[in-house]
């Protein structure tokens, strides 16, 4: 979620210039982005059919931006447990230690922390065998 929330903030650097107000036709005040979208209309469907309020720039610039960014991180998290390898202590040449696990993790016998990467269950791992019997 924090990763997702960074995007609206980071994008503001390049998008702020398009939110500067301009006077249009002597009567209206609009953003530069609105004026660009109006002046250089892409003549390809469906873009030029969308110059209406629904589903246009307002969707990308309103409160929905923050909400979408908030859930972007959540979606990524729930999409799978294929995050980066956990940063654990240890140097080259040092064998892993039995207690060198994060809380709640099980060692599968392949050196891969369960729930982090696709792995093969160790046929001789008593922990996995117990899990198989339990239907886990």
């Amino acid at each position: 979620m924090a990763f997702g929330l960074m995007f609206p903030v980071a994008n503001w650097t390049m998008l702020a210039a398009y939110r500067v107000p301009v006077e249009v036709m002597g009567t209206d005040v609009a953003s530069v982005a609105d004026l660009i979208g109006y002046s250089f209309t892409p003549t390809r469907t469906p873009e030029y059919l969308r110059i209406i309020e629904r589903g246009t720039l307002r969707t990308l610039g309103g409160h929905s931006t923050t909400v979408a960014a908030f859930y972007a991180g959540r979606g990524q998290r729930r999409a799978g447990n294929y995050g980066p390898l956990p940063a654990v202590r240890g140097l080259a040449g040092q064998p892993p230690r039995t207690g060198d696990r994060l809380p709640g993790e099980r060692h599968t016998g392949t050196g891969v922390r369960e729930g982090r990467l696709v792995h093969q269950r160790g046929a001789h791992d008593p922990v996995d065998q117990a899990g198989d019997r339990a239907g886990i």
Partner: protein, 310 residues
């Protein structure tokens, strides 16, 4: 007009189209009015010729905050490119940091042998933490920089414009659809319309128009004169408007007239996809003319029932 606005039904509005050519060529253009929850309404199209060079086109502008925009086409593009380049370079650097190591097979072998802890060194940790802090720093600085450069901004598409209609006519002709059917094989729309002449002069029905398709009463010179010679001919029905009773409607009189609009344009312009929609309705304008040639407009709308058998 950029901003959204509200239009009153039954009122008339003036509009003017000002175009500025940017891309040389021959272009087909339409006026367009986008209606919320309904979609775009297109006006009659016309061909325009744009000459000159695209490279010479400039659209300078001064914002309300005093910023000078030399060309709206390229405004802010350098910042966009620079910002994207920065993050792509950062991502590439982070990727190369790991690509310089042995990749999949050796790492898998190390995992297989139980040397997982050796895959990430303390230097990796330092670089990762540094990159994270640097990213947060750049994002924070990048957020505050435009706030200083552009302190005043406005939301996107948030404004509402108010457009005043033309003065309402003192006298009007009122019309209401009694019944309407569409003859699918005959490509003919038939309707019974109850007309009340609220003007002080007798009026005659001169034209039925819907979706830019015009059915003019060829027996009425004022109606034929109202169809401009440069109006797209494919949108002017050849058969015109058929009326069961062409006698002028007297002031204050209410009469139900039967009208028939037959032309292949209903199908060609894809206006008659009625059979697939159980809730088919139509809307149109009726143009009435008095003896002096004054035009009175009445809008009609109502359900239309398709007839599939001749």
């Amino acid at each position: 007009m950029i901003q959204s606005t509200k239009l009153e039904t039954g009122r008339e509005y003036e509009f003017r189209t000002v175009l500025r050519g940017r891309i040389p060529g021959r272009h087909h253009v339409h006026p367009m009015l986008n209606v919320r929850d309904a979609g775009p309404l297109l006006g009659p199209g016309t061909w325009i010729e744009v000459t000159g060079s695209h490279a010479d086109f400039r659209l300078p502008l001064t914002t309300l905050t005093g910023d000078r925009i030399d060309d709206l086409q390229t405004w802010g593009v350098n910042t966009v490119l620079l910002w994207h380049g920065l993050w792509m370079a950062t991502a590439a650097g982070w990727l190369l940091w790991w690509l310089r190591r042995p990749l999949f097979a050796p790492r898998y072998a190390a995992l297989k042998a139980g040397f997982e802890d050796a895959l990430i060194t303390p230097l990796d940790l330092k670089v990762g933490v540094g990159l994270l802090l640097g990213t947060l720093l750049v994002v924070s600085a990048g957020y505050h920089w435009p706030n200083a450069s552009f302190p005043r901004t406005v939301p996107l598409q948030a404004g509402k414009a108010k457009v005043e209609p033309l003065p309402a006519p003192a006298e009007r002709v009122h019309a209401k659809v009694v019944k309407a059917t569409y003859d699918v094989p005959g490509r003919s729309l038939r309707a019974q319309v109850k007309v009340t002449n609220g003007t002080s002069r007798p009026v005659s029905l001169g034209e039925f128009t819907s979706a830019n398709l015009r059915f003019a009463n060829r027996a009425l010179p004022a109606a034929m004169a109202a169809v401009a010679t440069d109006y797209p001919r494919e949108l002017v029905a050849h058969n015109g408007l058929q009326i069961d009773n062409s006698t002028p409607i007297k002031p204050g009189e209410t009469r139900t007239v039967a009208i028939e609009m037959t032309d292949a344009a209903w199908e060609v312009e894809r206006l008659a996809a009625l059979l697939n929609d159980p809730d088919s309705r139509f809307g149109a304008l009726l143009f009435f003319y008095d003896a002096e040639g004054n035009r009175h407009i009445a809008s009609i709308s109502g359900p239309v029932v398709p007839r599939c058998l001749p």
